[in-house]
Amino acid sequence: MRPIFIAFVLGSVFTAPALAQETRPEIVGDAIPQPLVAIRGDPVRGRAIVVDRQVGLCLLCHSGPFPEQRLQGTLAPELAGAGRRWSEGQLRLRIVDAAKANPATIMPPYYRTDGLVRVASAYRGKTLLTAQQIEDVVAFLMTLRD
């Protein structure tokens, strides 16, 4: 389904120089096999994003192997083992837009801006995470093998 990524494409028109190396996310089956940016994701940065309650927001809903993090969510599956259960491309799709895998999901779309209504002005037209942040998160999730 292409329309989802129109915002992404428009975004790259307006900010072409900065995003020049981004690839348009292409869905194959239930995965996005190709990285969104050329620079490899950094699992250390990815972990920091996942545990940050203002940035990744993941622990609002998920719990995971983060012994130093108190107060983790119970709305979603445990993140431990995510890298064993899913391929890199499947994880990327679920972060980019989990509704692609499950239309009824409550997991927010992290790399989509269209189809959202009444977004607060500070966030309007902005994705929850940048392409690079998504690659970092995916790289980190791939390390969660147990």
Binding site: L59, L60, L71, G73, A120, Y123, K126
Partner: protein, 265 residues
């Protein structure tokens, strides 16, 4: 088949369809008997604080409100008591019936809206700002007179459209997180959002004292907090959307005990 039999069949199929559809649309609604006030999700200390008038910080506002109830003000130099007399009698049950339809406005008003309307029309005084000390105090004083009474807003031909509008907002996925009120409060109540237990979202105790706010706050303030959490654009202060949502929430809590001023974590 006779024409009559066909008609009966048609009616029957329609009824089956309606039931099936209605069920699908409301499959996640909380059954009446399983509803719980936010009170039931609290620890013993917070409950004790709410239950004991000498410990409940909301009671300071109630006393403040009692003074305002009796104070003459505005161009007409009228007090609330001048029209309504003893609030412990005349306001018994009132808050549990709001939002209520107001013919002159052609729409339901919440308690705050009604108080400000009385100020404008009867006292010829300027309306109180939302979340002002005075409006919270008067609302708390009036609300206190319904404590323990069942919530029962009037749903009829005039209020039904506003109830429906409120329900539509409740079900709308909105904001950058693309969440609806229903997804948290119908489907995920009892779960932990990070450390916080998600309540069913019943408006039983407003205005209420939140320890997190360190003050008394209105239901609108609570609703804005949830909208901000969803990264949705909050409706403007005093917007009709809040009243519609409040009417829906009160209807959703129909029969539950009113408990203002409640205490929440």
């Amino acid at each position: 088949m006779s024409r009559q039999a066909l008609m009966r069949l048609a009616h029957f199929s329609l009824a089956v369809l309606l039931v099936a559809f209605g069920f699908a649309a409301s499959a996640t609604e909380i059954p009446l008997s399983e509803r719980k006030s936010g009170y039931e999700f609290m620890g013993p200390q917070s409950r004790a604080m709410q239950d004991d008038d000498t410990a409940n910080p909301g009671m300071l506002s109630v006393f403040d409100g009692e003074a305002l109830w009796n104070a003459k003000t505005g161009a007409t130099n009228q007090s609330c008591a001048g029209c309504h007399g003893d609030a412990t009698q005349s306001m018994k049950g009132a808050a549990a019936r709001y939002p209520a339809f107001n013919a002159s406005r052609g729409r339901p008003l919440d308690l705050e809206g009604q108080i400000n309307l009385c100020r404008a029309d009867r006292q010829q005084a300027s309306p109180f700002a939302y979340e002002s000390r005075e409006l919270l105090a008067l609302t708390a004083y009036v609300a206190r007179q319904s404590r323990g009474m069942p919530i029962e807003p009037t749903i009829d031909a005039r209020t039904q459209p506003f109830l429906d509008a409120g329900r539509a907002i409740f079900d709308l996925r909105q904001g950058q997180l693309n969440l609806s009120c229903a997804q948290c409060h119908d489907d995920q109540w009892g779960q932990r959002l990070a450390g916080t237990v998600i309540p069913q979202g019943h408006p039983t105790g407003y205005p209420q004292y939140r320890l997190e706010w360190q003050s008394l706050g209105s239901l609108q303030r609570r609703l804005r907090n949830c909208l901000v959490g969803m990264r949705a654009e909050p409706y403007a202060v005093g917007a009709p959307e809040y009243v519609d949502l409040t009417l829906f929430l009160m209807w959703r809590a129909r029969g539950m005990k009113f408990e203002a001023p409640a205490v929440r974590p």
